[in-house]
C-alpha cells in the first residue's frame, strides 16, 4: 500500500488501487471507538447529459439523487435499511453536484458493515413499482427543501448568476423531472457510472487496514461488473455573461436576505493550484468581511445589517465569490454599494495572513479528532483534485503576503448578479 504521510500530526493515509480500478484510502485512529466508511461514486447532479460511443444521452435532472434513494433496494422486499438496522449501525447517503456518497458508521461488526456497504451499492435491483413509489417521497422532499429560505436563496441566486453551469439546478430536480424519470433511465446511469474505476472507498476511525483490504477484495471478487466504456460528461463551458444582473423574489420570510455574487475566469490565476488559490481568496475575504474586519464592525454598529458572510468556490474553470447579508434597512441598495466599494478596496497584510495561517493550522489539528470530518475532507479532496494534499500544514505555515496581494490584485468583480429575497408583505 502507498502511504500519504501527514508529518505534523504523525498520521498516515494508506492507499491502494484494486485490480478492478477502485481506489481505497484508509486513515486509522486508535484513540477512537468507532469507524466511518464511505463509498463514493463520481456522479452528481450536474451530469444529466453525457456522450458514449459518439452518442449523446440525456436523462432527467435529479437522477443522481433519485438513484441514491433507489439504490437501497436489494431484492424483492429487502432493503439495505433492514440489514444495517439489525447491526445497530448509523447509515445514510447523500448527493451533491459532483458526487454521491453512501456511508455507514458504527463501533461493531466492522466486516459486516464494510462488506454490505460495497454489496448493496454495487448491485442494482429495481422494479417499475419501486420507482413509482419513490417518486412521491422525493416530491415531498423537494417541497420540504423549498420551505427552507436558505435553500431558496442558494439556488435562485445561482440561477441568476449562471448561464450554462448546471449548479443552478436543484440537486433533487424539480417535481416534473422526478415524475418523468423511468427505470430505464436509472439503470442506464447506474451501469455507466457505478463502475469501480469511477468510485473510491474511504475508511477512517479504529480498524485494521490489512483486515479491511482483505474484506474489500473478497467482497468485490463476488461482484461482476459489465465492462462499460466511461461516458464523457457533456458540460457546457460557463460564459462570463450574467443572465440576470438583478433578480428579486418575494417569499415567506420576515427579513430581507440579499446575495451578491461574482464570477470570474479561473485562468486569470494560472500560477496557483486550486487549494492554494482557495486559501488565499478565503484569507482575503475573511480579513475584509469577517468578524475581525472594520467593515463588518461599521455595518453592525450603524445597525445596517444583522448578518453578513462571504464565501468563495474555486473550480477548474470558474471562481464564484459571494457575499450574503440580512438587513432591515430601508436602503438595501446603499448597503450593496458599501459592500461593492469594500470589495474594490480590500487589503491584507503580513500580520493578517500569518494569523489566518495559524487559525487554520489549529482547526486542522482539531479536525483529526473527528473521523467523520476527516473522511469528508478526504472525499472532497479526491473529487476536487483527484489526490490527497499531504502538505496543508506546510501551505498554511508558508502563506506569503506577496502572493496574497498578487491574488487580490487580479480579482475581477465585473460580472455581478444581485439577488434580493424579500418578505411577501413588501410586495403589496
Amino acid at each position: 500500500m502507498d502511504k500519504i504521510i501527514i508529518r505534523e500530526i504523525e498520521k498516515e493515509i494508506l492507499h491502494e488501487k484494486l485490480d478492478n480500478g477502485l481506489s481505497v484510502y484508509m486513515l486509522k485512529n486508535e484513540k477512537v471507538n468507532n469507524f466511518y466508511i464511505t463509498l463514493t461514486c463520481r456522479y452528481g447532479s450536474i451530469d444529466n447529459e453525457f456522450e458514449i460511443d459518439n452518442k449523446k444521452i440525456k436523462v432527467p435532472y435529479g437522477i443522481a439523487h433519485f438513484l441514491e434513494h433507489i439504490n437501497f433496494n436489494e431484492e424483492k422486499g429487502v432493503t439495505a435499511h433492514d440489514y444495517f438496522t439489525k447491526l445497530g449501525s448509523f447509515y445514510n447517503a447523500f448527493t451533491t453536484f459532483d458526487f454521491t456518497t453512501y456511508e455507514v458508521m458504527s463501533s461493531t461488526y466492522f466486516e459486516e458493515n464494510l462488506s454490505h456497504l460495497i454489496s448493496y451499492v454495487s448491485n442494482f435491483y429495481l422494479t417499475d413499482e419501486l420507482v413509482e413509489k419513490e417518486k412521491n417521497i422525493i416530491c415531498e422532499e423537494i417541497k420540504m427543501g423549498k420551505n427552507n429560505p436558505g435553500n431558496k436563496l442558494f439556488f435562485n441566486s445561482k440561477k441568476a448568476l449562471l448561464k450554462n453551469d448546471k449548479r443552478k439546478y436543484l440537486i433533487t430536480g424539480e417535481i416534473k423531472d422526478v415524475l418523468s424519470t423511468t427505470r430505464q433511465d436509472l439503470k442506464k446511469v447506474f451501469d455507466y457510472f457505478y463502475q469501480p474505476e469511477n468510485m473510491f472507498l474511504v475508511i477512517t476511525g479504529n480498524f485494521e487496514p490489512n483486515v479491511a483490504l482483505d474484506i474489500i477484495k473478497k467482497t468485490y471478487s463476488k461482484i461482476s461488473f459489465q465492462n462499460k466504456k466511461r461516458p464523457i460528461p457533456i458540460r457546457e463551458k460557463e460564459t462570463m455573461s450574467v443572465p440576470k444582473k438583478i433578480e428579486t423574489i418575494y417569499t415567506n420570510i420576515e427579513l430581507p436576505k440579499i446575495k451578491i455574487s461574482f464570477k470570474m475566469k479561473r485562468s486569470i490565476f494560472e500560477k496557483f493550484d486550486d487549494d492554494t488559490l482557495q486559501i488565499y481568496i478565503d484569507a482575503i475575504l475573511h480579513n475584509n468581511f469577517g468578524s475581525t474586519s472594520i467593515f463588518k464592525e461599521n455595518l453592525m454598529e450603524n445597525n445596517l445589517i444583522s448578518f453578513i458572510s462571504s464565501s468563495c468556490d474555486v473550480s477548474h474553470n470558474l471562481i464564484i465569490i459571494s457575499i450574503i447579508f440580512e438587513s432591515k434597512s430601508k436602503d438595501i441598495d446603499e448597503i450593496c454599494k458599501l459592500i461593492f466599494d469594500n470589495l474594490m478596496n480590500m487589503k491584507i497584510n503580513n500580520e493578517d495572513i500569518k494569523r489566518y495561517g495559524r487559525i487554520n493550522i489549529s482547526s486542522l489539528i482539531n479536525s483529526y479528532d473527528d473521523i467523520e470530518y476527516v473522511n469528508t475532507d478526504i472525499v472532497d479532496q479526491l473529487i476536487r483534485n483527484k489526490k490527497i494534499n499531504d502538505n496543508y500544514f506546510g501551505m498554511f505555515n508558508n502563506l506569503s503576503n506577496e502572493e496574497a496581494n498578487e491574488v487580490l490584485s487580479k480579482l475581477d468583480f465585473s460580472n455581478k448578479s444581485v439577488f434580493y429575497m424579500l418578505p411577501k408583505k413588501e410586495s403589496k
Binding site: 445497530g88 417521497i137 423549498k146
Partner: protein, 425 residues
C-alpha cells in the same frame, strides 16, 4: 480517562483527564430556576458577554484575540432543562503542547476577562447594547420562517399554553424593547454571585495548573448544584384530543401530534422511552412510522420525533400534503396500538437497543458529549456512559409495552401551506 473532583475553599472543579482529544475545554455551569418572563434577559446577557467585554469592548477585538489564541472558541448560552435554567460558559482551546509556553495561562485569563469583567461600565456599552438588541430582534422576527419550528410551538400552545415550549425560547420583542442596563447588571450578579455552580475541565492537561488558576479567580464555593429533579409543572391536560388547523404560506404542510408522557417513572423516562421512540419512529426507515408513512404509503419524506423528558412531552412531526392528514393519523394510531399490543419482534427490540448503544459509543469519541455526560451526572444524577449501556441492554419487550400504554395523544395540529403556487420560487 481519569475523573476527579477538586473541592477547595474557593470552588468545586471537576476534572476529566484524557489523551483522546487534541483540544481541551473549560465549562462553567450556573443553575437557577427557569422563569418565562426572564428568558429574554438571560439571552440578552449571554449574547452581550459573548460579543464584548471591558477588556475587549468591540467584537472585532475579541475575535482577533481568539484568533491569536490559536482559534480558541467561546460559547456562552442558556439551556432550559425542565424548570431549571442552566447558563453555560465554555471555552474550547487547542492542546497547549501545540502552542507556546504560557498558552494555557493566557486562555484562562481571557476566559475570566469575559466572565468576570463585563462591559457594563465601559463607555462603549451603549453601542454594543444596541447591536445585541437589533440582532435579537432580527432573530425573534425570523424565527417563524421555519414552518417546522412554528408548527411545534403552535401545537404545544394548544397542548398547554403555560409550558415553556409553547413560546419562543429566544424571548419577546416587548421585553427586548424594555430591557435596561440595570436589569442586565442585576441578572449578571444573580448568575455569577448567587447561582449554584459547577466547573468542569476536560483534556490532556496537567490538571493542577488550570485548577489552581481557576480557584484563584473564582470563588463560588458554597453554591453547589444540589437540585437534581427538574420537572416542569403543567396545567391539567384535557382528556379529549384537540384537533387544530392553521394557515401559513409555505410550500409543504406540516403535521404535528403531541403526546403526554407524564405518567412515566424515572427509569422509563430516562431509558425505556428512548428505546420505544427508536422502534416507533426515530430508528430510521425500518421504524414503524417510517415504514407506514413513507415506505408503504409514500405520504412523506421525513418523520421526526422530539422527546422532552423534563416536560413530559413527545412530539411527532411529519412534512406531508394536508389532504393525507387523516390517513396519517390512522397510520400513527395503528403503529401506537401495535406498540401497546407488543406487535414488534425481539429482533426489532434488539436492533433498537444496538442502535442506541452505538450512539453512546459515538458519544465517547466526542469531547462535548463526554463532558456533558459528566455534567448531567452532577446536575441531575444522570448515569455515566458505561452504566447507561448496561441499563439499555436490560430493557425488555414488556417494559416497552408498558411505556406505550402511558403515551397519550393530546393534540393533532396541521400548519397548511400555500397551494396556489405563489410561493413556488
Amino acid at each position: 480517562m481519569e475523573y476527579k473532583t477538586n473541592n477547595n475553599n474557593q470552588c468545586c472543579i471537576h476534572t476529566i483527564k484524557t489523551e483522546k482529544f487534541n483540544n481541551s475545554c473549560i465549562q462553567i455551569v450556573f443553575q437557577n430556576m427557569y422563569e418565562e418572563n426572564n428568558i429574554t434577559d438571560y439571552n440578552f446577557l449571554v449574547n452581550l458577554m459573548s460579543y464584548c467585554s471591558n477588556k475587549y469592548p468591540s467584537h472585532r477585538e475579541l475575535c482577533k484575540e481568539l484568533e491569536n489564541l490559536y482559534c480558541t472558541e467561546i460559547n456562552l448560552y442558556n439551556m432550559r432543562i425542565g424548570d431549571s435554567m442552566l447558563s453555560i460558559f465554555s471555552i474550547d482551546f487547542l492542546n497547549p503542547k501545540y502552542c507556546y509556553e504560557k498558552f494555557l495561562d493566557d486562555v484562562i485569563d481571557f476566559f475570566y476577562s469575559i466572565i468576570l469583567d463585563p462591559i457594563f461600565e465601559n463607555e462603549k456599552y451603549e453601542k454594543n447594547f444596541e447591536i445585541i438588541k437589533n440582532k435579537m430582534m432580527f432573530d425573534i422576527e425570523s424565527e417563524m420562517e421555519n414552518p417546522i419550528h412554528k408548527a411545534i410551538i403552535r401545537s404545544h400552545h394548544y397542548f398547554d399554553k403555560s409550558i415553556p415550549t409553547a413560546h419562543s425560547s429566544l424571548g419577546t420583542i416587548e421585553r427586548l424593547n424594555s430591557i435596561k442596563r440595570n436589569d442586565l447588571i442585576s441578572l449578571y450578579n444573580k448568575i455569577i454571585r448567587d447561582s449554584n455552580c459547577e466547573i468542569f475541565v476536560i483534556g490532556n492537561l496537567d490538571m493542577a495548573n488550570p485548577c489552581e488558576k481557576i480557584s484563584s479567580k473564582f470563588n463560588n464555593q458554597s453554591k453547589r448544584i444540589n437540585k437534581k429533579e427538574h420537572f416542569i409543572a403543567r396545567n391539567n391536560i384535557t382528556k379529549e384530543i384537540i384537533s387544530k388547523e392553521e394557515m401559513g404560506e409555505y410550500e409543504q404542510d406540516v403535521f404535528v401530534t403531541v403526546y403526554d408522557t407524564k405518567c412515566l417513572d424515572d427509569f422509563e423516562r430516562n431509558y425505556t422511552m428512548n428505546v420505544f421512540n427508536n422502534i416507533f419512529v426515530s430508528g430510521g426507515l425500518t421504524s414503524k412510522l417510517y415504514k407506514y408513512l413513507r415506505e408503504e404509503n409514500s405520504l412523506c419524506y421525513n418523520v421526526k420525533s422530539i422527546y422532552q423528558k423534563h416536560d413530559n412531552i413527545l412530539s411527532i412531526v411529519v412534512g406531508l400534503d394536508s389532504k393525507n392528514k387523516d390517513k396519517c393519523i390512522e397510520l400513527i394510531t395503528k403503529a401506537l396500538t401495535e406498540m401497546v399490543n407488543g406487535e414488534f419482534s425481539e429482533e426489532e427490540l434488539n436492533s433498537s437497543k444496538k442502535n442506541i448503544l452505538t450512539s453512546i459509543e459515538l458519544g465517547k469519541d466526542s469531547i462535548a458529549s463526554t463532558l456533558n455526560n459528566y455534567m448531567f451526572n452532577i446536575i441531575e444524577n444522570g448515569d455515566l456512559f458505561e452504566t447507561k449501556q448496561k441499563k439499555y441492554e436490560s430493557i425488555s419487550k414488556e417494559q416497552i409495552m408498558n411505556v406505550a400504554q402511558k403515551v397519550y395523544p393530546k393534540v393533532y395540529y396541521i400548519l397548511k401551506g400555500d397551494k396556489n403556487g405563489q410561493n413556488n420560487n
